[in-house]
Subunit: 327 residues, 2 copies
């Protein structure tokens, strides 16, 4: 059994707890928290809650620490620090800072002879993987990524900062006709507005100027101005009843040509439809925690990304079973 620790117990940590529970070859040792451990109730009756500070005294009890923190401030510190003591994995998703994060984690993991895997999830993650596979197979082609239908946390936060808004949620919606143009092999050049719609559900404060809220949202630079945006005003009860989920998903499509004279067209499409964004991300993290363990057993230390992991290493099956049942 691979002994798992979870560092951080938000949506992601709770999802990892569920996924480890379903894995045939893993057991959850404990959840590590910055809060008072006595105050934190977890779902798994067989696991315990520890303080972050306890972790470094438990290096012989945990095979992989799954770090469930935020990319903005948590992971840049937590992952290199935890990699001194454990094999680690995180879902770092600030694209621009990946090279720096990789370098920091790599140094820490190599010095302490651990395996670290960063930026695991679906984007970055499974979407990145599908872009790489499709690009390698069809070098003469064009990539398209569509997101949604799903809740964008960043855009929902932006709505909530608007004057007069009590609460709100934003859905990113891919435009079906654009998807169809891409799938047809037409290779269109698409603007932001042509690819996605933005739909907002807004709870106004009492007496707020609705027209002003709608205008402030629709003209907000970067977030909404470049999109066709719709704004619906609803009550707090409606928001809670109809929009409390965190669904997401999307499409990675590559169209390309082969043949001596580019006479053949091909379309590769990968898509996800997810009831819960953090639950799915957690499931990917848990599968790749298995790879972190296997690589550490082989002595393959340092920082890795999803591109460096052979698919067999995320499966609980043996090489013979995989060849017999999956090929």
């Amino acid at each position: 059994m691979i002994r798992i620790g979870i560092a951080g117990y938000g949506n992601l940590g709770r999802g990892v707890e569920c996924a480890v529970n379903k894995a045939p070859d893993m057991e959850l040792v404990g959840v590590f928290t910055r809060r008072n451990p006595a105050d934190l109730k977890i779902a798994d009756p067989n696991a315990k809650v520890f303080s972050f500070d306890d972790a470094k005294n438990m290096t012989d009890k945990i095979d992989v620490m799954i770090i469930c923190g935020g990319s903005a401030t948590d992971l840049p510190k937590m992952t290199p620090e935890m990699a001194k003591y454990f094999n680690v994995i995180d879902s770092f998703d600030t694209h621009a800072n990946i090279p720096q994060h990789f370098a920091n984690v790599d140094k820490s993991a190599k010095e302490s002879k651990h395996t670290a895997i960063i930026s695991i999830g679906w984007d970055p993650g499974m979407f990145s993987l599908n872009r790489l596979y499709a690009n390698s197979i069809l070098p003469n082609g064009k990539d398209y990524t569509f997101w949604g239908k799903g809740v964008s946390q960043g855009h929902s936060d932006a709505i909530r900062r608007v004057e007069g808004v009590l609460d709100g949620k934003q859905y990113t919606i891919p435009i079906e006709s654009a998807l169809e143009r891409v799938r047809s092999g037409e290779n269109p050049e698409l603007t932001a507005r042509e690819k996605h719609l933005r739909e907002c559900f807004v709870v106004p404060k009492e007496g707020a100027d609705l027209a002003a809220i709608e205008k402030a949202i629709k003209t907000m630079p970067n977030y909404f101005a470049d999109y066709d945006t719709t704004v619906h005003f609803i009550t707090e009860e409606e928001l809670k009843r109809d929009h409390s989920g965190i669904p997401h998903g999307g499409f990675v499509i590559r169209t390309g040509k082969t043949g001596w004279n580019d006479e053949c067209s091909h379309t590769i499409e990968y898509s996800l439809k997810l009831d819960s964004n953090p639950q799915f991300t957690s499931s990917i993290l848990t599968a790749y925690a298995r790879a972190a363990y296997k690589l550490s057993q082989k002595g393959d230390f340092g920082c890795k990304t999803i591109f460096d992991i052979a698919p067999a290493d995320i499966s609980p099956m043996s090489a013979e079973e995989i060849r017999a049942h999956m090929l």
Copy 2:
């Protein structure tokens, strides 16, 4: 530059020739044939044609031999034999015999210190890969594979063996309503008849009994009896004009549940729409030939399948470039 040899020059070999020509880091040294080399014209003016027997004298001129033979009789002999002299790759697709083929090729490649990759293509191949990824991420779920719309070589051959048939072609067509039921997360149990239609275009011999042909096809065990099959009689000219392509494709879908009480549903879907089945298979073979070269450079010898290859190894980009541009 990775120096490539092609063994066999049918549809697959010609496709590899095109793909190697498009690869930024490969050059085609030559095509090896069982025919008289002087009689074989190839497309690439910079490559030469050699006899199969010349191969073993060219071990210092070729980095990877891409073996483009048939799975029934060619590959079981050719791949282990060629692996004595070269890093090799093939598209062996007789599922039941993969363990034996793997063992034979592994022995040969390990003894001679070469890297061999077998069963590369889209099914087995990219479809297998997507089944493995999706199963590892969503262990609590169900797999569905649909093929088509595309030409099935085996079913077309079966039609042509029917009394009174001059020529013919069979298309396998996935049933859209079944796809929709799967995508909805309903987890249906589907019979062969519920998943695919079979559409046949048949050129009868002069004076043949059309009703007898149609009945013979529709009632043929294993091939057609378990499906809703339609038979169209057409002329030789129509067959040539409208049905000379070799399109194919398909869908790999996994639906699964996560959450402590299985409260969240997720759908992962991978699909291909291919103008030319052999051209696309060739493109995958060529990308994985790059991996065979990279693994041999690292001293990672023996037989591998698509599950053993880290995605980064099929890309012409460096690890830094991949992290910067693909993650």
